[in-house]
């Protein structure tokens, strides 16, 4: 099963998520992202079902890909497929 490993670390938070890739197509997750990020680019992506489907199909082909790796003063964010 392909999954997205998400790590978010800040001074007060440490989140490690293991999200099955198929979950990104679920309406619940899309609704949740839309609610959290009302005006941002993630919400725009989440609203576009066709785009989500295309992203999902492509990401499935890239096991081990480090999609995002951000290190700032306040937090570390890493997303790996």
């Amino acid at each position: 099963m392909k999954a997205m490993k998400i790590l978010v670390e800040s001074e007060k938070t440490k989140i490690k998520l293991f999200v099955p890739l198929w979950l990104m197509k679920s309406k619940l997750l899309i609704k949740w992202i839309g609610g959290k990020d009302k005006s941002g680019s993630f919400a725009k992506i989440a609203k576009n079902r066709e785009l989500i489907r295309k992203i999902y199909t492509e990401l499935k082909k890239h096991k081990g890909l480090v999609l995002v790796d951000v290190i700032s003063k306040d937090a570390v964010v890493k997303i790996v497929i």
Partner: protein, 156 residues
């Protein structure tokens, strides 16, 4: 990408067969095949010749340095990766590796590719993807802003 995959990619970009590459390097085609399939690696004494043949540095060949921008012979973008690196003076580091196909889908649907980063808001993504579709590869953007922030965009 390991050195074998790199050699295979460079060979194909230069429309060269394994046999032709082997002749240039005075090795057997079987040796080239083994490099490309990850069974063996080229001898260290051949690295200079391979790099020189493809007009890159040995650092670029070994993946220690992103290749300079170059025009690829084939326009197939399906296996390309868009790599964005931002290093700001205040110590923030952003690395985004996104399959080019996804970047294209996002742009076509009107989604911005700034990944929430202020320093990437002014990048003309439409022009970049257009240039990539016409064969531009390697480090296609390498900008240091007046503030000292570094932005690199690599397609490979």
């Amino acid at each position: 990408m390991n050195i074998g995959e790199k050699i295979a990619a460079l060979r194909k970009q230069n429309n060269m067969t394994q046999e032709e590459l082997a002749n240039h390097l005075s090795v057997t085609p079987q040796a080239v095949s083994k490099w490309e399939n990850g069974i063996t690696s080229p001898d260290i004494s051949l690295l200079g010749a391979i790099a020189s043949l493809f007009h890159i540095t040995t650092d670029e060949l070994l993946g220690l340095q992103a290749p300079r921008a170059y025009a690829a012979a084939d326009n197939d973008v399906s296996n390309l990766m868009l790599k964005v690196r931002v290093i700001s003076v205040d110590g923030d580091r952003v690395n985004v590796n996104i399959p080019l196909s996804i970047a294209t889908f996002m742009l076509e649907s009107g989604t911005k590719l700034d990944f929430g980063n202020e320093k990437m808001k002014d990048i003309d993504w439409a022009t970049i993807t257009q240039a990539v579709s016409k064969g531009l590869r390697g480090k296609i953007v390498d900008v240091t802003s007046a503030d000292g922030d570094l932005v690199e965009i690599i397609v490979e």
